[in-house]
Amino acid sequence: MIESKYMNPYLAGFFLGIVLLVTIYITGRGLGASGSIKSVVVASVETVAPAHSKETKFFKEYNSEHQGSALKNWLVFEVIGVIIGAFISGLISNRLKLKLEHPSGSTTRARIFGALIGGLLFGFGSQLGRGCTSGAALSGMAVLSAGGIITMIAIFGGAYAFAYFFRKLWI
């Protein structure tokens, strides 16, 4: 079976904008992603090393701001939805396939290493910047938050600034 074409980007953007608008109207908050990763980390540390979690400042601050389990969090439920939604989309467009994707010019090893380090940086940066491309940049733009828009400019500006040095990974 042949993969379907991707949706027209402007149409997809319009739909994404509507999803975000509806989210803000219903819940009073925007979309997000990195927050759920934080929840998973907080919950894991609590389970594996409860004593450590009780005496580390970051987890103490998190627990003083949140009630109940770290996993009972709006973004965790939203990301569960994202997995389901993306899976359905992949299913109807024939894109479900277990594979490690890497550009022809680069190696599998480089891709594994890049994905790991890139993820690490993104995870770290999203904590420092209080949100990622979804939570800070996109949702921040929708409500015209100064912080969100500054983060957005820094993400894309940073990516352009560093792109040259990592071109071998992609082209």
């Binding site: 953007g13 970051f58 939805g81 993820g119 940086l121 999203s126 983060t151 820094a154």
Partner: protein
């Protein structure tokens, strides 16, 4: 009026809503092609600007929608989460994320999306993010200074730049369209051929034109709040269509009568309110009239809304705004708290009443002067025990 959480949709149901919103979010991201890193990093090398197109179209759509909902009073922006601004951590965090983007090829949302359709590199990216968050958590004392520096609060970008929301929204729309056109030209050059998807130039010109028009309507939709506030401040004399007057005597009578329809809005500074507040009164600021809690009170049918301030100038503005917002039965206490204190609370009979009517008035005031201070005292005790409820801003963000 939005947001619907937590009143219309409870906090528990909100988790179910989150799953459905996530499904829509994930579906659109995957359909847009955000499940492959090659497409995602394309914009940084000029061969595929899909991310820029989807991202900016989504941002504009949501932004213009939020402005429109706010204008028509369908969304209370004071309850919507606005990401707080911490200047240095926003810049540093953003730059690190940018680096992560070109090294890893994903961002958190898109990596989840890609992992869901089986991309192993995306799963590795998620693993990396977990480690990254863990490192931040463990090293938190080291980064805390930077993390919390330059805290500017929940600022809106147009306030920082000192322009109106409408102007900023329009400029952003114009910039986005210019970027759409420029990047399509770059993409064609880099790839050596035009993307057949965008062959229909007329349709795209039409779309761009329509978007600019929609962007322009942001001007025709100036923020209702700014508009009414400036109208209230520039009007020197209000007419009888704007509100009615209520005398201190009538208000005193209604308070003593325990009038169930009475709603009192106190516009004095909060320290005056704390020192002395009338029974069943609310301390509000002019801008609270545009917020959900007060709107809920004002929109109850059959209620009598009495506004008062120290004299009566601020109260007149409030009653005017309330009427303009479409709420009925707006009254202003004549002479404000100053008159009320003089004529009722601290009333002493001058004993020189000439007419029968004045004798009656004085008699009423004497009895009111005995009762109302007691009611005020009881009210203060009630307030001290903390009977006030307020809808809070939602906590959002990542």
């Amino acid at each position: 009026m939005g947001p619907l959480v937590p009143e219309v949709i409870g906090n528990e149901l909100n988790f179910i809503v989150a799953v459905f919103i996530g499904i829509a979010f994930g579906f659109v991201l995957e359909q847009a092609g955000f499940s492959t890193s090659k497409k995602l990093v394309g914009l940084f090398y000029g061969y595929d600007f899909t991310v820029l197109r989807v991202f900016f179209t989504a941002g504009l759509t949501a932004m213009l929608g939020v402005i429109a909902l706010g204008h028509f009073g369908l969304l209370d922006m004071s309850l919507v989460y606005v990401n707080p601004t911490f200047l240095w951590s926003a810049i540093a965090g953003g730059l690190i994320m940018g680096l992560g983007f070109v090294v890893g090829g994903f961002c958190p949302g898109t990596s989840v999306c890609a992992a869901a359709i089986g991309k192993i590199d995306a799963m590795i990216f998620i693993g990396g993010s977990l480690i990254g968050v863990f490192i931040f958590a463990e090293g938190y004392p080291l980064f805390e200074g930077l993390y919390k520096a330059a805290s500017w609060g929940n600022l809106r970008i147009f306030d920082v730049l000192g322009v109106s929301q409408a102007l900023f929204a329009f400029l952003l729309t114009a910039i986005a369209i210019a970027a759409f056109i420029a990047t399509t030209i770059v993409e064609t050059k880099v790839n050596g051929k035009a993307n057949p998807e965008f062959a229909n130039k007329k349709m795209y010109l039409g779309l761009a034109f329509a978007t600019i028009l929609i962007g322009l309507t942001a001007f025709a939709l100036p923020d209702k709040k700014t508009d009414l506030m400036s109208e209230a401040y520039s009007t020197s004399k209000f007419s009888s269509d704007d509100f009615e007057w209520m005398t201190a005597d009538e208000l005193a009578f209604r308070i003593m009568d325990n009038d169930a329809e009475l709603q009192i809005f106190d516009l004095r500074p909060s320290q005056n309110f704390t020192a002395l507040s009338l029974p069943k009164s609310q301390n509000i600021k002019l801008e609270n009239l545009f917020e959900k809690d007060i709107i809920k009170m004002l929109s109850i049918r059959g209620k009598i809304n009495v506004f008062f301030s120290g004299n009566d100038s601020l109260a007149q503005k409030a009653a005017f705004i309330s009427t303009k917002l479409g709420y009925k039965n707006n009254y202003v206490l004549q002479g404000g708290m100053n008159s009320f204190a003089k004529e009722i609370i601290n009333f002493t009979n001058p004993g020189n009443a000439e007419s029968k009517q004045l004798v009656d008035t004085y008699r009423f005031r004497e009895s009111a002067a005995a009762v109302i201070p007691k009611l005020i005292k009881e009210n203060k005790l009630k307030q001290a025990s903390g009977e006030t409820m307020k809808t809070k801003r939602v906590l959002g963000g990542c």
